[in-house]
């Protein structure tokens, strides 16, 4: 598949009657990466995911999933994608294990491999001890984990996850992050929609911000985890807290660092990790009482707020 692997969305538009849910979205999700889809409620995220999941045809624009058009060849696309919808139901009367075996059968897997795969996935999402309980007794977070397992049944190379972390406890969130990073590391393409920004920042390589049915910005997040590959162009944000803010501000001004004062701290923009460590050394050398010096997770937040500001 080469260059056509992953998800490519160009100029997609979809209206429901007179309501324009998706106006113009361009998006690219590459294999081996987690792409975040973020935006306010009603921005068109779920509608876009429905189109990617082969359920809804776009009115205009083109979609390629693994190089295949989901409108022309939905079945081929379905074999490669795993879709985890937001707020889905389960067959209440079935046990957790039966739910997964049923989904496996729906992907035309033979009973033997289906059973093995179900057991494997129950292990992965830590639902093994609930395997023979009815799906209806699961808590919201457990249902969410079952939903993820369901999306993974047929070893999809492309994953579409709509709000996968909602309802998860902190431990499950960390586990979800590890599962998703593991899938990306094995070459899968992941598109994750959410509005929990800090969390996406930990998981995603890139974020596509949508608002009002349009894709408005693409934010690269991988630079923050910082190999800092030498190029001085990767500007990152750091948050500094001091016992003596006025002196800190004066020192920063002296070193010519662009600042963004907050109520109890200050955000600074520096070119990469090396520049940041140098700045810290200088500030300590100046005798500024620094209590915290950490990468600011506000980058995505800032980009998000900037992108959606005029749309409120």
């Amino acid at each position: 598949m080469g260059t056509t692997a992953g998800i490519e969305v160009a100029g997609v538009r979809r209206a429901f009657g007179t309501v324009l849910a998706v106006d113009h979205i361009d998006l690219q999700a590459r294999p081996g990466e987690v792409t975040a889809l973020i935006g306010p409620n009603g921005a068109g995220k779920t509608t876009l995911l429905l189109m990617l999941a082969t359920l809804l045809a776009p009115d205009a624009g083109s979609i390629r999933i693994g190089g295949i058009d989901p409108v022309a060849a939905p079945r081929e696309v379905r074999a490669t994608i795993g879709w985890m919808p937001d707020g889905f139901g389960t067959w209440d009367a079935l046990t957790v294990r039966e739910v997964l075996e049923t989904v496996a059968a729906a992907y035309l897997m033979a009973p033997g491999p289906a059973r093995a795969r179900a057991a494997e996935l129950l292990e992965l999402v830590h639902l093994g001890d609930l395997a023979d309980r009815p799906a209806r007794v699961l808590s919201r977070g457990q249902k969410q984990r079952l939903g993820l397992a369901r999306a993974l049944v047929h070893h999809p190379s492309i994953l579409l996850l709509d709000e996968p972390a909602s309802g998860l406890d902190p431990r499950s969130r960390i586990e979800l992050r590890d599962i998703l990073r593991g899938l990306a590391a094995s070459g899968a393409t992941l598109l994750v929609s959410s509005h929990i920004l800090t969390e996406l920042q930990e998981i995603a390589d890139r974020a596509v911000i949508v608002a009002g049915g349009c894709s408005v910005a693409v934010q690269d997040l991988s630079s923050e985890s910082g190999s800092g590959d030498g190029s001085g162009h990767q500007v990152s944000q750091w948050r500094i807290t001091s016992l003596d803010p006025p002196r800190l501000m004066a020192a920063l001004a002296h070193h010519g660092v662009s600042t963004q004062p907050l109520s109890d701290a200050v955000d600074v923009e520096v070119a990469g990790d090396i520049a940041a460590s140098e700045l810290l050394a200088q500030l300590v050398g100046d005798g500024i009482p620094i209590t915290a010096f950490a990468p600011s997770h506000g980058a995505l937040e800032t980009a998000y707020l900037a992108a959606t500001e005029d749309r409120q």
Binding site: A57, P74, R75, T102, V103, A106, Y107
Partner: protein
């Protein structure tokens, strides 16, 4: 469509139903009702030993069909839009299952449950068979047609559940359609009779009005007991309204009850001694198909009443000649049920196809009020 796909859905549906609903209770109640009807029928025809088997067969089959038409729509009428409401349809649509897999799978599951109802009623049909008078082959044909009719009703429910967003609408529409098929066809047929009637000049065999004047006893006190006989009747030409039920009988043939009743009537000689609803329905429809015959213009009551007098109520003697004649005539009318059978087959197939079309994704035009996931 694949076998595994259909089986996956059918197994899923059956598992869900068996675990969430109180089917044993419902089937138990069903068994008791049919049992009560069968027992009462048996008791009611106590003094006509020759007819017990046929009457029992007729009544049981009639009730199984009637109650089945009430129960079966509930099996499918909320199936597809109900799944949408619970958010479990879209997750199946994104698998490798085709829309046909989903529709046929649901149909098979509903049909299997309706077979369970039939199975619960089968002891009473066996009882009727043991009591005698009904041919086993006929009974099997009737049951096969009954099973087919129930499958068509399942398909109708499934279609409506794919057409409407709300489960209540599809349930109402399904019951209305079943009612239209069972009552609507009869009402339409009855209304068609006056519309189709024509005025025509016909030759009628009557006892002349003047006969009693001519045969007045000369002496009013005398007991000259003179009765008219068939020989006294004459043919007259008269203009009268003639029904043309032979033009509209097919309205009745669309009725599921007619299809089942006509597939395997017990073929008893007229007139009926007990309550044999299927037999009556079948004969009534065939009479309609026959239309107005020369027989209809025989108003020579002495001839008719002599014949009816010779009919012994206990079936001891020979049946009257005109009744035999009427039975022979009715048996001579081609069966009505194949028409309805084909019609219902088309309805079932059309409904299933429409449901399949409605489950196709990606959806281009989303109907108002419908949600996808």
């Amino acid at each position: 469509m694949s076998l595994q796909g259909v089986r996956t859905i059918a197994v899923l549906e059956l598992r869900q139903r068996l675990r969430t609903s109180r089917w044993p209770v419902v089937i138990g109640i069903w068994f008791l009702i049919i049992g009560a009807v069968a027992g009462l029928t048996w008791w009611a025809v106590n003094n006509q030993p020759g007819d017990r088997g046929t009457t029992l067969y007729d009544v049981v089959l009639f009730f199984v069909l009637g109650l089945g038409m009430l129960v079966v729509p509930s099996l499918t009428a909320t199936s597809i839009n109900g799944d949408r409401e619970h958010g479990v349809l879209a997750t199946l649509q994104t698998t490798l299952l085709t829309p046909a897999d989903i529709v046929i799978g649901k149909l098979v599951a509903a049909w299997v449950i309706s077979l369970a109802f039939l199975l619960a009623a089968s002891p009473f049909l066996v009882w009727a068979w043991i009591a005698g008078g009904v041919d086993a082959g006929r009974m099997l044909l009737a049951v096969a047609v009954l099973v087919f009719v129930l499958a068509v009703v399942c398909a109708l429910g499934l279609m409506f559940s794919s057409l409407t967003a709300r489960t209540i609408s599809s349930a109402v529409l399904t019951y209305l359609t079943v009612a239209a098929l069972t009552f609507g066809t009869v009402i339409a047929f009855l209304l068609s009779i006056p519309i189709m009637s024509t005025q025509a000049s016909v030759r009628v065999k009557v006892l002349p009005d003047t006969w009693f004047q001519q045969h007045q006893p000369a002496n009013p006190d005398g007991n000259a007991n003179i009765e008219p006989t068939a020989a006294d009747c004459v043919y007259v030409n008269r203009t009268q309204s003639i029904m043309h039920t032979e033009r509209t009988w097919w309205l009745l043939a669309l009725n599921p009850f007619v299809v089942v009743a006509d597939a395997a009537p017990s073929r008893k000689p007229l007139p009926y001694l007990g309550f044999e609803p299927l037999q009556m329905i079948s004969d009534g429809t065939r009479t309609a198909r026959m239309g107005t015959t020369s027989d209809s213009f025989n108003e020579c009551w002495p001839e008719l009443s002599v014949a009816s007098l010779s009919q012994q109520p206990n079936g001891g003697g020979d049946n009257g000649a005109p009744n035999q004649l009427q039975r022979q005539r009715l048996n001579g009318v081609p069966a009505v049920w194949p028409y309805g059978f084909v019609f219902l087959g088309l309805v079932g197939a059309g409904s299933s196809l429409l449901a399949v079309r409605r489950l196709r994704t990606p959806i281009r035009r989303l109907p108002r009020g419908t949600r996808i996931a």
